[in-house]
């Protein structure tokens, strides 16, 4: 309820954080840091290059579609499309390598065990399995709503889907880009297979991100219309308690909650992020529609 809570004074007696005209209220609202600046930038680079890849990849996948041809013609033909596709691919690859380097540094240099196991890890554990079942039961009214730690199971799935997707799509993409080189190690049929793999995995990524991820993270009623935490890095006390109850309770019990308190997001930054975020979502939804038209129009 990032956007709706401030408009409900009865429920938020201590303040209206986004109303710049009442400074005494915003001072009382607590904000907790969830993502570092580097992580937020990584997300921006990730979705920008992904949108670029999707926008240029889809016309190639559905090249007999009139919209694809129109787009290709307007941007300067296929040559321009492929150039931009490769450019975005390189950007995304660099972002991926940066992330791997970051993981390696945290694991090997800082000896941060929490990234591999425990409540703050992205690695799935038994609780995630229970959460999937529990959540599904709650959907249909068969049980209580599960409480989540720092990363819920669908967030972990998002992460690993992208992780796996980047390896698969990236590898198959580079295999096509440098086909004669890759042909030295790969059997002949693999050169045919990489196109199938690239296209299908990319289709999965596009359909998943632009429908499931959008709804799970941004468009579901709890976060509608956008979860700003990935842009501002901070969430309100109430959001934190409600969405990641177990993490909140764990930190509170350990007395580490105060260490996570951050400043209220800057007003212009939040609005700027909102413009960027909504633009990305709208482009994504447009691409989703075009993808469905392309897929079911030709299948």
């Amino acid at each position: 309820m990032t956007d709706q809570t401030p408009t409900v004074p009865a429920e938020q007696p201590e303040g209206q954080p986004q109303d710049g005209g009442q400074p005494q209220s915003s001072a009382k609202e607590k904000y907790y840091v969830r993502f570092t600046l580097a992580q937020r930038y990584l997300h921006v680079v990730l979705f920008s290059s992904f949108l670029g890849l999707a926008a240029t990849g889809l016309p190639m996948r559905f090249s007999d579609n009139p919209a694809a041809r129109f787009f290709a013609r307007e941007v300067g033909g296929f040559g321009a499309i492929l150039f931009f596709h490769k450019f975005c691919a390189v950007v995304l690859t660099l972002a991926f390598l940066y992330h791997l380097k970051d993981l390696a540094t945290r694991a090997l240099v800082h000896r941060e065990k929490g990234i591999f196991w425990g409540p703050t890890s992205m690695v799935p554990n038994w609780k995630d399995v229970q959460d999937v079942i529990g959540h599904l039961r709650w959907f249909v009214g068969l049980g209580p709503k599960p409480q989540f730690e720092r990363y819920a199971y669908w967030e972990k799935f998002d992460y690993w889907a992208v992780f796996w997707g980047m390896i698969v799509i990236g590898f198959s993409g580079y295999a096509m880009w440098f086909a004669p080189f890759f042909a030295r190690f790969l059997p002949g049929w693999a050169l045919n297979a990489v196109l199938v793999i690239h296209g299908e995995e990319a289709l999965l990524a596009i359909l998943f991100i632009f429908s499931i991820h959008f709804v799970n993270t941004h468009l579901r009623p709890d976060s509608f219309p956008m979860d700003m935490v990935i842009f501002t890095g901070k969430e309100t006390d109430e959001e934190f308690r409600k969405k990641r109850t177990l993490e909140y309770q764990r930190l509170a019990a350990q007395g580490k909650l105060e260490a996570r308190i951050g400043d209220k997001p800057v007003y212009w930054w939040e609005n700027f992020a909102r413009v960027i975020g909504f633009t990305a979502i709208l482009i994504g939804l447009l691409l989703l529609v075009l993808t469905l038209i392309g897929y079911f129009g030709t299948a």
Partner: protein
């Protein structure tokens, strides 16, 4: 006219007539007297003059009235003749009554008989009578050659059938949508004019470029369904080959040429790939874009599998016409079966063929299948299972999460609704 005497008489006739006409027109210093032959004829003239006196007199007499270009008969038809143009024309040496045979005296009869070109041009008339134009026009000759008094040799730029003028001459009827509709014809004139042949004729002024007549003939134009027509399917290679000899030799050696020569009318001839009238420069993007489906119209299976490949996906987008089309790999005119050692798609030649675009092509690289079919388990098992696995992954992930997210959305909405805007947080 036969025999040297007749020829001599003819020449004398022309010269003598010029002499007379020049006098008639009060032009002095006529060129007829300025060269040797003229002098010879002048010497002979007194002998011959008597025999042709009546004809010359007749022409002069006719023109004394009909030189008035605005002259009309009772029905309103123009009966005026431009004397200068007529005398310069190919028929300028003839007397009026040679063609207008029914007019023998003045005043003329009420109804003059139609002039019959066939009296002299019997071969052309025979050809025309058997042609597609036989019944089309009441005035078949003048429809193309223009007014009989202004006809010039076909090598003369003023002629309606001069090579550079032919498209326009044919186009007077063949660009008329009403006529095209009446006779069920395609409107090919504008298409031809935009073609490489039309461009060569109309813009470059190339006399050797193909005009309508080059392919269709002139008087004896036959339907392309007639086996004798130069545009009949099996005759097309020879028709085009009249100019494109080198290509015809290549074509005749290829599978298509041999099939057509062997009586297979399904095999393509020149016009099947290049089209008949809209012929484009093959290196142009438009041609590269349009021709792959043309091959595909016969080679349906191969076309379908080609469309699954990166080559086709790129190629269809346009702006990037360099991607491999059928003939980039298979050759264009001299297509040979892959088993032929000279075929560019023979396994031994693949590195060279693929290497034309892919500079680093190697033995493993050319094992890529440009016509692989991921839907065919028997033909391409690894590819089939790759696609199968990817699709399974795609639909299971999407299927699970679609249901998951939909249920979540509904539940969350309901939760929100039950709680009410003000109560929501307190109940949580």
């Amino acid at each position: 006219m036969a025999g040297p005497l007749s020829a001599l008489l003819g020449v004398a006739c022309v010269a003598a007539k010029r002499c007379v006409l020049n006098r008639y027109r009060f032009v002095s210093g006529s060129p007829a007297f300025s060269f040797g032959r003229g002098r010879l004829i002048a010497a002979l003239a007194p002998v011959l003059l008597l025999g042709f006196c009546s004809m010359l007199r007749a022409q002069t007499d006719c023109l004394s009235c009909h030189a008035d270009k605005t002259m009309q008969d009772a029905a309103g038809h123009s009966v005026g003749v431009d004397a200068d143009t007529f005398h310069a024309s190919i028929h300028g040496s003839l007397g009026c009554t040679d063609c207008h045979t029914s007019i023998k005296q003045y005043p003329h009869p009420d109804h003059a008989a139609a002039v019959k070109c066939v009296a002299c041009h019997a071969d052309q008339a025979t050809g025309l009578a058997g042609s597609v134009h036989a019944a089309v026009s009441a005035q078949p000759c003048t429809s193309c050659h223009g007014d009989a008094h202004t006809i010039f040799p076909k090598t003369d730029a003023r002629s309606a059938v001069y090579p550079l003028n032919i498209p326009r001459t044919c186009g007077t009827c063949h660009s008329d949508p009403a006529l095209a509709k009446k006779y069920g014809l395609q409107n090919v004139y504008s298409v031809y004019m935009d073609s490489i042949h039309g461009y060569a004729v109309s813009k470059e002024g190339l006399l050797v470029a193909a005009n309508c007549m080059s392919c269709h003939g002139s008087h004896n134009i036959l339907s392309h369904k007639d086996p004798l027509s130069p545009t009949y399917k099996t005759n097309i290679p020879n028709t085009c080959g009249a100019c494109h000899g080198g290509v015809m030799a290549e074509y005749s050696a290829g599978v298509h040429g041999k099939a057509v020569a062997g009586g297979n009318l399904n095999a393509p001839v020149c016009s099947d790939c290049h089209t008949a009238h809209a012929i484009l420069q093959p290196t142009l993007a438009d041609f590269r874009m349009q021709s792959t489906p043309i091959c595909g119209s016969c080679h349906k299976g191969r076309f379908a599998t080609y469309q699954d490949t990166f080559h086709s996906q790129l190629g269809l987008l346009g702006g990037y016409v360099e991607t491999a089309r059928c003939w980039d790999c298979h050759g264009a005119h001299n297509i040979l079966p892959a088993s032929d050692p000279n075929s560019p798609v023979n396994p031994a030649n693949l590195i060279k063929t693929c290497g034309r675009c892919h500079a680093d092509a190697n033995a493993s690289f050319v094992k890529y299948q440009p016509h692989a079919n991921p839907r065919d388990r028997k033909l391409n098992p690894p590819l089939y299972f790759t696609r199968f696995f990817m699709n399974l992954l795609l639909w299971s992930v999407l299927g699970f999460f679609s249901l998951h997210t939909l249920l979540w959305f509904i539940r969350a909405k309901r939760e929100q609704g039950n709680a009410g805007p003000a109560e929501e947080e307190k109940h949580d």
